[in-house]
Structure formats: C-alpha cells, structure tokens
Symmetry: C2
Subunit: 151 residues, 2 copies
C-alpha cells in the first residue's frame, strides 16, 4: 500500500492496530461553539472525553466522546474548524444520534436545567416500547434519548 | 412517568431493559433507495442486519446495521420513508460515519467493483497514522474508512 508511513505514531491508532474484523468507529458532526457542545455532551449527558486532536496545519480540532473506551460502544466526534464563522446548516438527510439513558426523568431534568431545547418530551412512540425523547444539542443536531431501563 | 405503556413489547427494547449507565446507541441517516443502501453497507462493507422495524402508521421503515450485536459497538440506522420523493439534502454540519477496516486494500477493491464513488484514496492523513479513505454511500453520505490493522 502506498499509504505506508515511515514513522509510527501509536497515539494516532487509538482504535487499535490489529483488529481482525471491521467496526463502526464513530460519527462526526461539526460544531460551532466547542465549549457549548462539550458542556452539553459531557456535563449534560455524561459522556467522557476520550481524546483530543489539535491539527494545527488544518486549523481544526477533533474531540472524541464516548461512554467507555474507544472500542466499547459508539463514539461521537465533534469537529471544530477554528476559523469557521456562523452556524452550520442541516440538510434533510442526517437524522440524529441516539443515546440510551437508564433514567429518563433525571436526564431530562438535567438537560432542562441547562436550558436545552426539548422538541419531544418522553413518551413511548410505539405501545410497549421504551420512552423516547428528542432534544437539540447546541448546534441544533437532533439527539434521541431512549430509555434503556424499564421503569 | 407518563410514558408508561400498558403493554410491554420486548422486541422494542432491543438495547436491553436494565442498563445501569448511558450508552451511545446509534446514528440515523435517511436513505432514498433502501435496497442500494443495504447493498452498500451489507455487501460492500460487511455490516449485519440487526433488526428491521416497519412502522405502517408512519409509512416508514428503520433498519439497524452493525458489526456485532446491538450492544457491541456502534450501530447505524437507515430510515426509509416509503413516500419520500427525490434525494435528501446534505447540510454543512453533519460529517461522516467512520468504519474501521482491517484490510483497506480489500475493502477498497470490493467497493470499487460495486461502483462506489471514492472521494479520497487511502493515505495516512497524518504521518504515523493509519491509512484513511473517504467514499460516498448511495445517498451521498461521506463514509470514512480507517485502517485498524497495521500493514
């Protein structure tokens, strides 16, 4: 492969170097106000900062957030272009990321206290299904909250 | 909670009913040609169909794809509105989903044989990092492929 590099940087192989099968690694969304986004995902939803990459040549930063390690469950990348002005636009294609929460009531209370925009309050969308709510993150991305513990 | 339902449907609690901590469950994108999308993700990238939900009252179908079970790594939801006409639009905000592949050469060969649009051929974006490529799925969503096995 012509992609070989001379120098091996283990920090850039956060997903491992010897995986035997493919894996869905992360979803990436671009955010305007990095601090607001991090407050929402870390303070509001309890995600952990797994890693941060500042790429000075591209004047951009990527932050990886998850609820475990890089290889334990889904990961979200927030990308921040240092020089980007104004909000990003949302097309009609991309939907949401879904986060499973054991305690929907506590999560909603926390998000409301932070001033999060709530678009659909918790309810079972389908009879017999889990409670589902929709909120917006600071950049307007839809976040689906799905209860993962039967109340 | 006012979201309680009379009837419990275990099929609708695919992520479990007793999670003790939150989890990133899936990312959802809307697709126009369901069959083409499934060919790309299942035949092209080797994802497995974890579940399919036809919601007749909303005239929509959701399909969940992953490389393991619902709780083993990230999951992608493809949503298909039966009556939707024309392509979905892509804003400037949503970026991509990233899939880790052990064998970049084999994956690229497979995708090329299927006529997949390749936007960035495999190369190490950062010296010492893994080979990275970008392709487009049939709906034009960017898919980042990241090599997860050192060649």
């Amino acid at each position: 492969m012509n992609s070989a590099t001379d120098e091996f940087n283990p920090r850039l192989w956060v997903w491992g170097t010897n995986a035997s099968k493919p894996r869905l690694l992360h979803s990436m969304v671009r955010v305007k106000d990095f601090d607001a986004a991090i407050r929402f995902y870390v303070d509001g939803l309890g995600m952990e900062m797994l890693g941060r990459f500042d790429i000075t040549t591209r004047r951009s930063t990527g932050v990886f957030l998850g609820f475990g390690d890089y290889d334990a469950g889904g990961v979200l990348e927030l990308a921040h272009k240092w020089d980007h002005e104004g909000p990003y636009t949302h097309g009609t294609g991309y939907g949401h990321i879904a986060i499973g929460v054991p305690d929907m009531t506590a999560t909603m209370a926390k998000l409301e206290s932070m001033g999060t925009e709530i678009t659909v309050r918790p309810k079972a969308l389908i009879p017999g299904g889990p409670a589902v709510a929709f909120v917006k993150d600071p950049d307007g991305y839809e976040i689906e909250l799905i209860q993962t513990k039967r109340s």
